[in-house]
């Protein structure tokens, strides 16, 4: 196994592109090292991207936030401006693993791992986050919801690396929230989850995005659920419609972590609760 530490994203992309065997990117390693230890993967090349300056910071501009691919969960939690603008995203990223894991794990790693249960992914999609992708020859920017194509699979071409995630500029009277169900209070993986991002106008929901996790092969954007609350003040009827739309959008599996029946029902419950939190964060009163 070769271990490389490039200092530019392009260099990383070139290394990955050239490798004939099994190549993996190492950021925090909280997924990769576990997989290697369990014998699930035996890489011939590991490219450590932590030495690439372009990936290391959270920056704020008029266009919004840019979060580098090697920024760990704890660094996001400590970034006051990010937490104020996108509390749902920060709390989603903060739910990954434990305190120790938070010092290593990254949102881009969470995304590229391709797990349907990834915590930060529904929150990023609800926010309209984009991924800056660097290849050997060119760069492109793609909406986060286009990255994961199935469990463990992404739309990234061989040699492509995500350099950063961008979040749009935050409009006033906006709020987001992410909730998940896990049997334990921490160090667990979502059995079902929901993210809601919305904007209010005079207490009425003007725009909304509702995204579910762990209920289908990839995170699910539920347009009908968003529609159910747009134009409302989140009255009970709207919330019930939102929950029903979420449950209807579920296509989960029965597995050791939960049943189809459970995931389908609780997806609606969590979406309702997340919507209420997002609504209050946007300045609405329930």
């Amino acid at each position: 196994m070769r271990y490389e530490t490039p200092t530019t994203t392009k260099e990383a992309a070139t290394l990955l592109h050239k490798e004939k065997g099994q190549a993996h990117i190492l950021a925090g390693g909280t997924d990769l090292l576990v997989r290697m230890k369990m014998g699930m993967t035996e890489p011939t090349l590991v490219v450590d991207i932590k030495h690439i300056p372009a990936m290391q910071a959270i920056t704020k501009s008029a266009a919004g936030f840019k979060i580098g691919a090697t920024v760990c969960g704890a660094a996001m939690t400590e970034h006051a401006a990010l937490g104020k603008a996108w509390p749902g995203i920060v709390e989603a990223a903060n739910l990954i693993g434990s305190d120790q894991i938070q010092g290593r794990c990254t949102m881009v790693g969470n995304l590229c791992n391709g797990s349907p249960a990834a915590d930060s992914v529904p929150a990023m999609i609800a926010a309209g986050a984009k991924a800056i992708i660097v290849g050997k020859d060119k760069r492109r920017t793609v909406a986060v919801d286009k990255i994961v194509t199935g469990p463990g699979k992404t739309s990234l071409a061989k040699g492509e690396v995500i350099e950063a995630i961008t979040l749009p500029a935050r409009l006033p009277r906006s709020g987001d929230a992410y909730l998940r169900f896990t049997p334990r209070t921490e160090m667990d993986i979502a059995v079902v989850s929901a993210a809601v991002n919305l904007t209010l106008q005079r207490g009425v929901v003007k725009t909304a995005r509702v995204v579910l996790g762990a209920v289908a092969p990839t995170a699910v954007i539920v347009a009908k659920a968003a529609k159910a609350i747009i134009g409302t003040k989140l009255d009970d009827e709207a919330l019930e419609k939102l929950a029903a739309a979420c449950s209807a959008a579920c296509n989960p599996i029965d597995d050791k972590r939960g049943t189809i029946e459970y995931r389908t029902k609780v997806a609606g419950v969590l979406a309702k609760r997340a919507a209420k939190i997002a609504y209050q964060r946007a300045g609405g009163t329930l």
Partner: protein
């Protein structure tokens, strides 16, 4: 040994104080040496190849390619472990469990093992071993294994002369239950299920085996009983027992799971074949698949009572799975089920059932928590039917001194009544419950055990005292035993150090199980200290040149008595030790004892929970443990045992379970999907120690380690049932199970 083991009421000077444990600093700084922390020159890495199937005939094991891999030093299969056990079926079962003999009996059953120069080579060698399996039908569910057409796990197990998976049927009780039920105003009958759980110790099994070409050997191992490991390993490998020295490492949790050998005989066999030391550390995946979890169960409980709360009859039909080898787990369930109550008519039947799962081992009060779940849940239902508080119903029927236990013996002084009275007075019972919250309580019992024990006490030239024990320290017993020696000798705690000896330094000590560590080694330590006091008096008499009868030992000094000598200044232990060379040599005390009559221990637990009616998620709001300790030598570690048992019980009640697929394979072989509670899942667990002296121990000590895991399943079950408004009968009460029960009740 002629020592008086009876309880003597006395004023203690140092017993009951909360001193620092001698192993504490090393454990929190990482200096302590656990099973995987030993190294020997030239050591190899051992790895085990395990069956990917639940049940299969092993037709062929081809090791030819693996043998040729550079760096591979030894490969063993069952052919390298000839059966030397004679007609000892239990020992043959251990041998077969360590390495499959022609048939893989569960997913993860060892099939071959390799020793190589490093881990990578060993792993690669495992991949090169080709095993040809012929799959057999399997069964992992206890009820299905009892059906007439179930696949048979062990051919030697017969019922009515026919092959069966029922390895044992044990019946206990007295009176006439039919007549008793006829007298009852109310009868409640209910069936329950509990899933299989693992002890979940953080340290995996690990050892360093080193067999010399002269037939002697050494084994460094994490274990609850190095003397028992010596017996088993020397028998299985045909080694001379005296030539196998077993040293116990620090232990990172055992809870019964480290009372058995799993890979240690394989490490020894690999070392013997390679003529090199072999270190073998199980992965977590292997620990889950192939160590000894506790039984899953299925139970039918029936209790009848009069309107005034008197129980007229009670029965329990219990089905416990033992894994692939016969055990006594159903029997223990049947013994403990009604041990808390004074019953005129009672009958319990325990079935021990074989399935294609790993061999069941002890888990903290083994078998009692499941039976208590069935019985204590049903007690709650009966109390509700007759309109009595569950607490008063239990108080009315509690066993007391003179009660004939449902499993046979007549109780001496016991603590079930006092723990229930303490529940009544506890502020927890008056705490206000909010919306979606519920309160439950339950009682629990454990026998406790004494057994063979041997200690050495040596006084150093500087007057410091070294106690060598043969029961490993799994919960702070070194601190407790040092306290006992300090108390007996009348010296400060810091002047005593307790160490655990290897198998070459002491006589046989039974395994640290049955909550016996502090009870039995404590008893031996008292007698060894008294033995040493006798020697100290003799030496003082010699130094003074006066008759030994004129010397008394008190408060850590020898004092001369009588008109003739009482003006002599007292001699300290250090002063006597300093002169040992001229008064007869090193000063020591010894004791060997079979510590019989370990006092039974009872507990009552109270639990408040909140259930989210929309997700089925349960949060433990308050938890209180009240238990009889006999005498708490070191209250911190008694409370720690109370809290630890409750914490494990909470995990078991809510989330922990072995999940098998339709293919008979275990699906959750890691701590991510086998969910023991993390800190934030638990409230502070309140404790109250009661001290009802055990009449058969000089200080009144009872074992305290196990009873605390008996009530939680039922206490939480009762609390959840009250909070959710539906009776939960299946453990663990995971969120999906609770939500389904709530929705089913609404429909």
């Amino acid at each position: 040994m002629g020592h008086d083991t009876n309880y003597q009421d006395r004023e203690f000077k140092i017993i009951g104080t909360r001193v620092k444990r001698p192993d504490g600093i090393d454990k929190v700084t990482g200096r302590a040496k656990y099973g995987a922390d030993a190294f020997a020159p030239g050591q190899l890495v051992g790895k085990v190849l395990r069956s990917p199937h639940a049940h299969a005939i092993i037709q062929k094991i081809d090791i030819s390619k693996a043998e040729k891999l550079a760096g591979v030093k030894a490969i063993i299969t069952s052919a390298d472990l000839p059966d030397l056990t004679g007609s000892n079926r239990g020992m043959t079962d251990i041998l077969e469990n360590c390495m499959a003999r022609g048939r893989a009996l569960y997913h993860g059953h060892a099939v071959a093992a390799v020793a190589a120069i490093d881990e990578q080579t060993a792993k690669q060698a495992l991949k090169l071993i080709k095993v040809t399996y012929k799959l057999l039908p399997h069964v992992t569910d206890v009820d299905e294994a009892m059906l007439p057409d179930a696949p048979i796990i062990q051919d030697f197990v017969l019922q009515d002369g026919k092959p069966s998976n029922i390895a044992g049927i044990s019946t206990f009780g007295h009176g006439d239950v039919d007549a008793g039920f006829a007298e009852a105003d109310v009868i409640v009958e209910k069936s329950y299920k509990t899933e299989q759980t693992h002890q979940g110790y953080i340290e995996p099994h690990a050892c360093l085996a080193n067999v010399s070409s002269d037939g002697s050997g050494e084994l460094w191992v994490t274990t609850q009983g190095h003397f028992s490991f010596r017996v088993v390993c020397s028998t299985l490998l045909g080694l001379d027992m005296a030539k196998l020295k077993v040293t116990s490492s620090e232990i990172g949790g055992g809870f019964g799971g480290k009372t058995h050998v799993w890979t240690e005989p394989l490490a020894l066999a690999l070392s013997r074949k390679a003529n090199r030391p072999v270190k073998l550390v199980m992965t977590r995946d292997e620990v889950f698949k192939a160590s000894g979890p506790t039984s899953s169960t299925s139970m039918d409980i029936k209790i009848g009572a009069k309107k005034d709360g008197t129980i007229t009859a009670a029965t329990a039909m219990l089905r416990y799975q033992d894994g692939a080898f016969p055990g006594i787990w159903g029997m223990l369930g049947a013994m403990t089920a009604y041990a808390c109550y004074d019953l005129k008519n009672v009958k319990t039947v325990g079935h021990d059932v074989l399935v294609n799962r790993p061999k069941v081992a002890a888990y903290r009060a083994p078998s009692a928590p499941m039976a208590a779940f069935g019985v204590e849940s049903t007690m709650d239902l009966v109390a509700n039917e007759i309109g009595m508080s569950p607490l008063d119903f239990r108080i009315k029927n509690a066993a007391k001194e003179g009660t004939q236990a449902s499993y046979g013996p007549v109780y001496g002084p016991i603590g079930i009544g006092p723990t229930l009275e303490a529940v009544k007075k506890h502020p927890h019972m008056r705490a206000k419950l909010k919306k979606n919250q519920g309160r439950g309580m339950a009682c629990g019992f454990w026998f406790n055990f004494g057994g063979q024990t041997c200690v050495d006490l040596n006084i150093g030239p500087d007057g410091t005292v070294s106690l060598t024990i043969g029961t490993i320290d799994v919960g702070g017993s070194r601190a407790s035993l040092s306290l006992i020696v300090a108390e007996e000798l009348g010296i400060p705690y810091d002047q005593v150090r307790t160490n655990i000896g290897d198998t070459a330094s002491l006589g046989h000590n039974d395994t640290t199980e049955g909550s016996r560590g502090t009870f039995s080694s404590g008893m031996a330590a008292i007698f060894a200290a008294r033995d040493a006091v006798g020697v100290l008096r003799e030496r003082a008499a010699k130094m003074w040149d006066i008759p030994v009868d004129d010397v008394v030992w008190a408060d850590g000094v020898a004092t001369a008595t009588g008109a003739k000598h009482s003006n002599l200044p007292p001699l300290t232990l250090a002063a006597i030790a300093a002169k040992a060379a001229s008064t007869g040599g090193p000063i020591a005390g010894h004791n060997e004892v079979v510590a019989d009559n370990a006092g039974v221990s009872f507990a009552s637990h109270i639990c408040d929970v909140e259930v989210d009616p929309e997700t089925g998620s349960t949060k433990i709001i308050r938890y209180t443990v009240i238990q009889d300790a006999g005498k708490a030598i070191h209250p911190d570690y008694v409370e720690g045992q109370f809290q630890g048992g409750a914490a494990q019980g909470i995990g078991w009640a809510l989330n922990e379970e072995y999940i098998y697929g339709a293919d008979g394979c275990l699906q959750n072989t890691g701590f991510l999907d086998y969910r023991i509670p993390v800190c934030s899942d638990l409230p502070f667990i309140d404790t109250q120690i009661l001290e009802i002296p055990n009449p058969n121990h000089p200080y009144g000590v009872r074992g305290v380690g196990e009873t605390s895991i008996v009530p939680p399943l039922a206490a939480i079950g009762n609390a959840v049932s009250h909070a959710a408004g539906v009776r939960m009968t299946h453990i663990p009460m995971s969120a999906p199970r609770i939500l389904k029960a709530i929705d089913d009740a609404k429909a």
